[in-house]
């Protein structure tokens, strides 16, 4: 009788271990709560270009982040349609860059990030004289592009 009880207890414990094995992973796996809808999969058709601020004084440095682009691709940056630099998108199709407005006149500027004709997005910023000077967040990353066509040439010295 006692042996039977002991065996039952062991069996119950082992059953619980098997049933609850998956539960032990709860701290390590985040259960997605996002609704499963078409919007979840449509992002690929609509690249996004986010910027930390949309208005600032000339001399501001804006932080741009593109997402939903083709992964591992070269994206061109355009200011008002003029090419100003390139960035590489990462494995999930995101890329960041900084826009330095030093020397630019107060005006509206359209910033475009484009991998190809099917993956292109434009975002406007405005430079206002006397406005707040925008600085990028401390964790902002990426190459810097300039509104004015400042070209930093390597200095060549003749010995």
């Amino acid at each position: 009788m006692r042996q039977l009880k002991q065996e039952t207890v062991i069996r119950i414990i082992l059953t619980l271990v098997i049933l609850l094995a998956g539960v032990t992973l709860i701290p390590f796996i985040e259960r997605p709560l996002t609704a499963i809808g078409w919007e979840l999969f449509a992002g690929v058709y609509s690249p996004i270009l986010d910027v930390n601020e949309t208005t600032g004084a000339p001399g501001s440095v804006f932080a741009f982040t593109g997402s939903n682009f083709p992964p591992n691709s070269l994206a061109a940056i355009y200011i008002n349609g003029n090419p100003t630099g390139t960035v590489m998108t990462d494995a999930v199709g995101a890329a960041s860059f900084l826009l330095n407005t030093t020397g630019a006149a107060p005006d509206q500027y359209n910033v475009t990030m484009e991998v190809d004709i099917n993956a292109s997005v434009t975002r406007g910023i405005e430079l206002v004289a006397g406005g707040t000077t925008v600085t990028p967040p401390p964790d902002a990353a990426g190459d810097t592009v300039f509104i004015t066509h400042i070209i930093f040439l390597p200095s060549i010295q003749k010995n």
Binding site: R11, L20, R31, A35, S46, N110, I117, S120
Partner: protein
């Protein structure tokens, strides 16, 4: 006279009551519940009208007798058409959503038959298939017009047919899984991923039967009969359907359909060569993350609780029937490995075949646990054993069914589409804002639903909508720059080349393009 009439009525009533009783007694309640409960769940939460992306394309193609992009999906076009004739609703989009609900419930029913053959008890079946039916992506894909639940239903049918053949191998029983397999290829090309498992099962179970001429003839006949469904594609092509996603637009805006009456055009469509670039599209360093993501998805699908018993079931089935489990494992691995390495945005929706296999393992695992947890009666007389105060296996039964109820409750919010009119509203808004004779360019999230409203409901037929998938970027730019002076042109996202040459104004979710010098 009246008394006689009364007694006749009484006799009739009695007969009706008896036949009803017989019917109820003969009814397979387990099967009825396996089909009825999930179907009810899906019906209540199904999208009420046309849904977006592929769903809109499938629905419009079925309704307009059109053609779908690669891989053509001829079986879906055929069965969808038959289903669409059922008088379930005036809304074609809703009717096709219910087709997925039906196929989802059919999958559960067929999986129930498989588990029954594996001698899995009713409680274990309910627990395992309840989790499959309420797994977020399985549930979600049973609510919109899609090919995935039809695919899992056919897959379950193939496994069941193979089990029947293994029990009593006759040429006709051998032909049935081949017929289903060939038909299934006409619904989803991923059926090819089931072939290694099926071949393994046949060769390990009754290899000599393969050498019998009658068996081979039956198999060939079934293959020919099943693949005949592909004839729908060239036949539809011949009718020059108004809705056609098999082809490309040129720079003049003329649609150049792929010639499905030539072998080259037909083969290119059904083999999905347009998507070859996405297959095995990850670098080696990225694959680890994809495997982790899939493992997390499976864990979520089976509500954490199902993972341990599922793995247990897989081990138990190896010992019980290694031939069958070899087939299931090959099917699981082929699907998991292929889709883990498939670089598309909606890959999470494509793992349902692995869910089905895991649910079978889970059922076997639950059954093993229910037997295991009972106190051993070895060495004692079962009838003379002292009655236990509570039955542990009853508690486990309640637990596994309780988990299903919890999963349904917790996943409901995540998948419920019963009030989702977003696709119709977006498409109607675009058509309302579009000027007469407008030309609209957009992707899957914009254009197929607009075409549904035009071709199925007759709205704004003056507007031309072109899916950017069907035109090369260069041709699209040329077409836009040609048409921009003649008619209103809208696009979902203008490129830098267009921004340079046009004036762009946001109109709803689209942009109106106008010549700069206007």
């Amino acid at each position: 006279m009246l008394e006689r009439a009364d007694s006749l009525t009484a006799v009739n009533l009695k007969q009706t009551e008896d036949s009803l009783r017989q019917l109820v007694a003969r009814l397979d309640w387990s099967a009825a519940v396996a089909f009825g409960l999930p179907f009810l769940l899906y019906w209540v939460t199904a999208a009420p009208t046309i849904y977006n992306l592929d769903s809109a394309e499938f629905t419009t193609a079925v309704a307009a007798n059109g053609l779908i992009r690669a891989t053509g999906y001829p079986l879906y076009l055929l069965l969808g058409k038959l289903w669409s004739w059922l008088p379930l609703s005036a809304d074609m989009g809703y009717r096709m959503n219910l087709f997925s609900a039906f196929c989802g419930a059919l999958t559960i029913l067929l999986a129930e038959r498989i588990l029954r053959r594996l001698q899995v008890s009713g409680w274990a079946r309910l627990g395992a298939l309840g989790l499959l039916a309420s797994a977020p992506f399985f549930w979600a894909l049973a609510l919109i017009a899609e090919v995935y639940t039809l695919h899992t239903a056919l897959m379950a049918g193939i496994i069941l047919a193979l089990l029947r053949w293994a029990e009593s191998p006759t040429p006709l029983r051998f032909a049935l899984p081949i017929l289903l397999m060939a038909l299934s290829m006409g619904n989803h090309a991923a059926t090819a991923l089931l072939v290694p498992g099926c071949v393994w099962f046949v060769l390990t179970r009754h290899p000599r039967q393969m050498l019998q001429p009658r068996t081979l003839a039956a198999g060939m006949g079934a293959l020919l009969l099943g693949t005949a469904v592909f004839l729908i594609l060239p036949l539809r092509y011949a009718t020059q359907p108004i809705f056609n996603y098999a082809g490309l637009y040129d720079a003049a805006g003329n649609f150049q359909p792929a010639n499905l009456q030539t072998w080259n055009g037909f083969w290119q469509l059904i083999t999905g060569q347009t998507f070859a670039g996405q297959m095995f599209g990850y670098r080696l360093a990225e694959v680890g993350l994809q495997i982790t993501a899939y493992a997390a998805q499976l864990w979520t699908a089976f509500f954490a609780i199902g993972i341990g018993p599922g793995i247990m079931g897989m081990i138990v089935l190896w010992r019980k029937d290694w031939r069958l489990n070899g087939m299931l494992t090959l099917m699981f691995l082929a699907n998991a490995i292929f889709y883990i390495n498939y670089r598309v945005v909606d890959k999470n929706t494509m793992f349902l075949p692995t869910y089905l296999i895991f649910a079978i393992w889970l059922g076997v695992g639950y059954q093993w646990l229910l037997v295991w947890v009972r106190p051993s009666m070895s060495g004692t007389n079962h009838h003379n054993a002292p009655p236990s105060r509570f039955k542990v296996d009853r508690l486990v039964q309640l637990f596994i069914v309780g988990v299903v109820a919890l999963a349904v409750g917790m996943n409901w919010q995540q998948v419920d589409l019963s009030d989702d009119w977003s696709t119709r509203l977006q498409s109607e808004a675009i058509l309302n804002q579009a000027e007469p004779d407008a030309l609209i360019f957009g992707w899957w999230d914009t254009v197929p639903a607009i075409q549904y409203l035009q071709l199925v409901e007759g709205q704004r037929t003056d507007v031309t909508a072109i899916n950017r998938f069907l035109i090369s970027p260069e041709e699209m730019n040329k077409l836009i720059l040609t048409e921009i002076g003649r008619r209103p042109v809208y696009i979902n996202n203008p490129s830098i080349a267009l921004l340079r040459e046009t004036t762009v104004t946001a109109v709803g979710p689209l942009y109106r393009l106008e010549p700069k010098n206007r």
